[in-house]
Amino acid sequence: MVKIRTDFVTNSSSTSFILITDGDLEKMDFFNLVGITEESPLSPVFEALLDCLRAKMVSVSEYYEWRHAQSNDLETLVKEKFPGVEQKLVEAREKGRKVFVGDLSSEENEIESFFCCDSFELENEKIYFNALRCRW
């Protein structure tokens, strides 16, 4: 007997993100970054994304301590994982901004799955958010 799948065949995906902020990731700053108002019908979706980011983001040094205990060359590691972003890391350090990284997964829920598979880079005066590194 042969099974034939007629729907899309999917596999899991993950996207690494990097977030640079002046302070904590505040809701209104995040809403300004993505371009929604609080009364927007989209706000529950972006609020859920924000909760997800807060739960998954860790400071960049902590992240690399876990994964690359042997290396302390943070810029090289960031360059490998987020090409083109290393200069932003240098500037962020000079200005005392906070740098976080993390991973979004397509296996968790519909909202995280969407933002995991979409690809974007957003920046305003308070936040830089890069989620271009998607691995399908």
Partner: protein, 146 residues
Amino acid sequence: MIVRIDDKDKGFGTKDEYFVILNRGCRKSDFIRAARVVAGSYAEELMERIYDCLVTYAVDIREEYQKYYSDEYPDLETFLYWKYDVDRATIAEIMENLKAGDFLGYGSVYSGGDYVIGQFTISDTGLKMVNRVFDKLQEADGEDQN
């Protein structure tokens, strides 16, 4: 509003197919305005992609019926039942919400080729969000008429 037609109990349709009911005068810019997003933002781009996914590539059912099938089927309901294999309950839901000047579209969320937005738009969460935007559109229509 969006009517998804993947109800397994009804035994028809696939996960990506839907009907969309929209005031014929509604443009993409109205849809985006109803979403209360900032011009030039990521959220605005998202709404443009959702509009294209649901409306731009949808088949105009009323036009199709009038042009090619009105001799064969006595009314739109019968056309939907026999041509599109839609069950009576879904037809009733569509007809209840369809006003004289409305566009009735039919399509697959993957027709435009944006798989990521299609998959999200037809999901339970995405559909709830999109129907909230349609509710805002209706509110705006109501205000215009008053």
